[in-house]
Amino acid sequence: MKRELLKFLILAILVAILPTLLSGSYLVNVLIFVGIHTMLAVALNLLLGFAGQISLGHAGFFGLGAYASAILTTTYGINPWIAMVAAAVAVSLLAFAIGFPILKLKGHYLAMATLGLGIIFFIVFNEAVELTGGPSGFSGIPNLKIGSITFDNDLKNYGLIWLFTLVTVLLSVNLANSRIGRALRAIHDSEVAARVMGVNARLLKVQIFALSAGISAIAGSLYAHTMGFISPTSFGFNFSIELITMVIIGGLGSIYGSLIGAFILTILPEALRTFQDYDIIIYGIILILMTMFLPGGLVRGIPGLLARLRPADKQEEG
């Protein structure tokens, strides 16, 4: 417990001092995306890494949150904060309703069903032109405001988004180390044994699916209000795969791993701008290499890998 608190404090301090070390709004802007991606990866990890249920449609929930916020604030003039809460609640309820039939499926069938779900959302974003602006996007989304502070520059947005990200990380770590977290991991390892021990596996899977979708929707709202402009391409199948890659790189079931996965997969495309159109191929290769050599993810895998590379040192220590 003490160690968890220490890890979190180190992260919080890092987040607080990083922008002062970086010059130029470009890097701060990249870190804003790291924050949004971390929220999404952590949300997906609760479902995929803990409960062991895959979703290939999480970009869709992210998009639903973004579009719900955009439409409620811009078209209907509702306060952005209220829009964000409404979007999160509505997306959670939707996921809860969809979750009951869909999470009865296992393995490949669940992957196919969630894939279909993501594609349906993507089609709606593109085709409901009057509502969403269609493929040309939705612009003029207002910034968030607290009193007289408007979140209209990169530094303010950085603070806002990382505040949400830190809260997401903290609450997820708490959840992971509680009876609910244990029940989720139990379902992952042996659903029948978990049920025999009194875990209502079916309900808990649906609840965590709804929670995961709700966090993704909040990330979507933040994204919409920060960028002021959204278009369907940000919420497509490729992005769902990117999110899964983040979770797997960091390690299934490791909350801080998701943060590292999000960091790497956000920085990497910036660094590899020349490969732009081939990014999905690079993600594919990363996924293959990770599952072959570091199936536990970076956070858990690297110490083990180092130990394997230096067996002689270990013996001396012993």
């Binding site: 609450l171 009876r179 609910i180 244990r182 029948v192 044994a193 021990m197 009194g198």
Partner: protein
């Protein structure tokens, strides 16, 4: 305590169980024996809610519990262990037992995420009970190991500790001695008695006749899906049709 009334289970054209009725008495250690394919595990799967029987009823303290799912039965105090141990392999031994306390705790998503005060109190209580049950089963020193790193015999004990942590009224053990050496089997026999003395009714499916005859108060014999006999170990040992079924005579 638990009444099994006229259970029949068909798998396609195969009759796994045919009209089996039996009463498990509170505080007894009951053995279910029979040659391979007699339907013992099927009976367990039905009682623990994993299969839904073709017909027949199950009553717990006079209350109909037919067809309830395993998670509901766990709340009513019916738990089981598995023939091929089903541990939560990626979790620590202690965390495995903590899952056993799931029905004894109530914090939901919200209070767990926000670490509300009563949740912290509950977590402390869960940890204490879990350690107590590891002690009870004689494996307190394994608490921090990963469950899938345990040798088979210890895994069995962990599975029993996890089941006991839910403080059941009745525990079903599916071949608890399978894969154990004679020393471990002796320890198991005393553990089973200890469980009964703690006020928990025990039912076991077992092939190890020495163990069954040693610990059981009553025995149910199944053969080819039908009830062949029931009675005390002595009565069963002297029952000619049981002997015939085991030796394959007439």
């Amino acid at each position: 305590m638990l009444e099994i009334q006229a259970i029949t289970q068909l798998f396609g054209g195969l009759t796994a169980l045919c009209d089996v009725s039996f009463t498990i008495r509170q505080g007894d250690i009951t053995g279910v024996i029979g040659p391979n394919g007699a339907g013992k595990t099927t009976l367990f799967n039905i009682i623990s809610g994993i299969y839904r029987q073709t017909s027949g009823r199950i009553l717990l303290q006079g209350k109909d519990i037919t067809g309830l799912p395993p998670e509901r039965l766990a709340r009513l105090g019916i738990v089981r262990t598995f023939q091929n141990i089903e541990l939560f392999g990626q979790m620590s031994v202690l965390d495995n037992v903590k899952v056993g306390l799931h029905t004894k705790s109530h914090s939901g998503l919200f209070s767990c995420s926000f670490k509300l005060p009563w949740h912290l109190v509950e977590e402390r209580r869960i940890a204490e009970s879990a350690r107590r049950w590891l002690d009870f089963c004689g494996i307190p020193d394994l608490a921090d190991q990963r469950a899938d790193s345990l040798p088979f015999g210890k895994g069995r004990l962990l599975e029993i500790a996890r089941a006991l942590a839910s403080e059941p009224g009745i525990i079903f053990m599916d071949e608890p001695a399978a894969g154990l050496n004679s020393r471990e089997t002796q320890d198991l026999a005393s553990l089973i008695r200890k469980i009964r003395d703690a006020g928990i009714t025990v039912v076991l499916v077992e092939h190890d006749m020495e163990l069954v005859m040693d610990v059981c108060d009553r025995i149910l014999v199944l053969s080819l899906g039908e009830k062949l006999a029931e009675g005390t170990p002595r009565e069963i040992q002297e029952n000619t049709s049981v002997i015939a079924a085991y030796l394959g005579e007439g």
